[in-house]
Amino acid sequence: ACSNEPADNSTAGGESEGTEAPQDALEWAQGITDTQIIVANSAATSGAFAPVGVPFNAGIEAYFKKINGEGGIQGRDIVFTHVDDEFDPVKGKAALSSFVEDEKVFAIVGHFGTPVVAATLEDLKEYGIPAVYFATGIGQLYNDKAEGRERNIFPVQPIYRTEGQIMVARAVGDFGASKIGVIYTNDDAGKDMLWGAETMAEQLDVELVIQQVAAGATDVSSAVTTIKDAEVDFVIGAAIQATIPTIIKELAAQSVNKDVITTYVNVSPVIAEGVVNEINGKFDVYGNGWVSFEGERANALAEFAEYTVGYETNVYAMTGWIAAHFFVEGLKRVDGVITWDTYMDALEESPINNPFGGQIDFGNGLRAGTQEMNLSKINHDNPAGEWVEEKPLQSIDSILN
Amino acid sequence: MHIDHQPNMDGLVLKIENLSIAFGGLKAVDDLSFEIKENEVFGLIGPNGAGKTTAFNCITQFYRPDSGNIYFKDRKGKVQNLLEHGVHEIIELGLVRTFQNVELIRELSIIDNVLIGAHTDFNATIFDQAFRLPRAVKEERRMRQKAYEILETLGIEDRADQLVGGQPYGILKKVEFARSLISDPKLIILDEPAAGLNDTETMELSKRIRRISKELNCAILLVEHDMRLVMDVCDRICAISFGKFLAKGTPKEIKENKDVQVAYLGIEVTENAEE
């Protein structure tokens, strides 16, 4: 599937140890030919997760198209190959082994989905292949001093647990809440956010009223009734796209009329459009954000929209775009021979900017993904669905102070 | 269940006492009693819906009778009240049946169907079977041989390895018969074995029933509407109607019994049977 032209002898181990070695002693890493840099990912692009996987990959491809259009990296085009793993760990594992051992790609960009990522994290570390951006928020990715074999893992996306903490921090810091309702879905997103929320609530000594709903549920009425009865003063909607509209609509239907905060995944015009009629005149829906569309970032957004026709407003496409951006920023910094080590050094060299705001620092082995988030709110007056930024990117500490 | 009296079963293999069962308001079998002697061919006749099949189902424990007792002298000569046994235990005592509507396994070969009749005669455990221990292998071979011999006596050994599905009705009837023979029963219950057989086949069947009863030393309880067969093979006959006893006797006595003629035989057929 890929052309193995010159200088492609380095094997899976990534044996070029010393970064101090003179340039001409270095060999180009696998997956890099005179004309191409081959990268890959496996993601669920069919079945029930297609609505996430398809736009995500479209975002990655769009960004590479932009880069290639601008002349590529050191004159090489970035070639992106992809296999549909159907969210199945076996298939994801098989795909990864094929990428690294058969096709000998240079890096994995946008490794996707909790089950596949968790099942292959060890394999990745063993291979030593750089893996930039993980489309999942599992805790295993977090590392504050990655060294040696763990260095190659570069998470970017916010971790749901962090987000759960931020939500409670917002509720208390920005809205003065003391009794918070949490409606969470029984999936990794919901449960991780709950974990974060509980941790933070304990720290801040506020009361939580917790209700679980099934991911993808159509009837969440009993959970909402419980929340209503408890007379909370703020609600956390710890659920991703499919379920959050159900929760918000039920809150409106039962006139709970307390403000709601939810995860960055939902900060998309589509979701806003889906619920704006129901909440109008009743309560506000806030969302964490790790991207900002205001001011100077508007340009980045326009550029994104230009390349992702059909997915202009899709958050998952946006995250794919970001994934590719982080990967490319690292590449751009290497001048001369690209090996796995020179590449990883480049990523760690200094913080990398997110095109939509904020930055991530991989320096000194820090692998923590996005730590700062902003706050936006659904605009009641726009029936087409719109989020407007209320507060800029802030860390937990700055929210609480 | 506590048996307060041990019936006298000298010379008998089966004794039915005051058997009754009702479905809703309908008394399908009503205070029925009869007994079957060892090695005799006993006929049970009666109009459609008289309760014959229901009586069979009570004897073989497919139905639980409302009242009455069913005693059976098992292989070891011990008197058993069948009501104290589960359906699947009946065959071990030495009582086996066929079905009014053939009940065979279409996807198995004829010989395998016959071997099912020998199910309770195997000693090998699952473990023996899973690992094909010599014990299991030998036993399987022995039983297969026996089944083959039975098929031979019925003249269908050439089909032993054919599947049951798609076989003509007459063959199916024979396979059912063979399956009941392999367990060396003391009493075989046959429910309409001649249904669907043509004249010649019915004659053959009648010969076979007599022979089997002699050779295997077992009694046969037969339900059949084909009077030529019944009159030909039965030593004694019991006629019932609306679940109740009607008449009992030798074929000749039954044929001449007015009640039986009115309720069941009809005049013309009686003539036919005499032809």
Binding site: A48, D219, T226, V270 | -
Partner: protein, 291 residues
């Protein structure tokens, strides 16, 4: 009291959705002898059609729903003609697997046709609440309940009292012999798939405004409808409807008064235990096979 009523009212609405879906499953089961695992995804597909007509084509909602009904009928016909008719030699279990294949096809095609974004479908009656004994019920919810019941009553009447119903039940009982009696079984089966499709899209259109139109729209409804059918029994058409309402209400009561985490599972276990004592559901009875 009012909270209790609140939970019940809201569950009635969900119950109606389950009931429509369950009816779709049972009608196919009784005519084609297929446990149709694809009822939900086909309904999801047709709900996407409604959403497409409404949002992209700009049709009024009622007209879009009408379009969805037409699409449901066409898809039903298509399934019967292209697939089900050719399964004469296929065993009932294998037919279930055919519906698994259909799930894969629909799940694969839908995002290609309608995109991957969750879409919004509004309620038929946007506003208004009725307050009854201290509990709220929206006019739309009320409409759903009444409409659902009306559809079901009509279906019952047709199935139990008319010749068409006799034809359907005869086809269900023994297709070959029904043909011998002059029952146009092919038309019956064709009709059953179409009706199942329509029941599906109706349940989808009722469910969609509570959530959003996504590939998973009907997942939960499908499982609960299947369980409703088993709880009610496969032998009647009203048993599953009863089962659907019991599940709708029972689930929410258990979630509310019991545990929001385990309520659903407790219900499953209760149903399981119930089945041990009534193996053929609330209404069903064992068909005795006389030997």
């Amino acid at each position: 009291m009012s909270t209790f009523l609140q939970v019940v009212f809201r569950s009635l609405e969900t119950g109606s959705i389950y009931a429509l879906a369950a009816l779709g499953i049972i009608i196919v089961f009784r005519t084609s002898f297929i446990t149709n695992f694809s009822q939900g995804v086909v309904a999801m597909f047709n709900t996407f059609v409604v959403t497409y007509l409404f949002r992209t084509m700009g049709l009024p909602l009622w007209l879009a729903i009408f379009g969805g009904i037409i699409s449901a009928i066409l898809v039903g016909f298509l399934i019967d003609i292209v697939i089900i008719r050719h399964t004469k030699k296929v065993s009932p279990v294998a037919k279930q697997i055919i519906t698994l294949g259909m799930i894969m096809i629909v799940l694969g095609i839908t995002p290609l046709l309608f995109g991957v974004d969750p879409l919004r479908l509004p309620r038929l009656i946007e506003d208004g609440n009725l307050t009854l004994l201290g509990a709220d019920i929206s006019y739309n919810g009320l409409f759903n309940i009444v409409f659902g019941i009306a559809v079901m009553v009509t279906l019952f009447y047709i199935l139990q009292k008319t010749k068409v119903g006799l034809a359907v039940r005869a086809t269900a009982s023994n297709e070959h012999t029904a043909k011998l009696m002059g029952v146009p079984t092919k038309t019956v089966t064709l009709g059953a798939w179409a009706v199942a499709g329509v029941l599906g899209v109706l349940s989808g259109v009722m469910a969609a405004p509570m959530t959003s139109v996504t590939l998973n729209l009907m997942d939960e409804i499908q499982i609960n409808a299947l369980i409703a059918v088993v709880l009610g029994g496969f032998q009647t058409f009203y048993g599953p409807v009863l089962g659907a309402y019991i599940i709708g209400i029972g689930r929410n009561l258990l979630l509310y008064y019991g545990s929001s985490v385990w309520g659903g599972q407790i219900l499953y276990i209760l149903i399981l235990v119930f089945l041990v004592f009534r193996p053929h559901g609330l209404i069903g009875k064992k068909i005795i096979k006389k030997v």
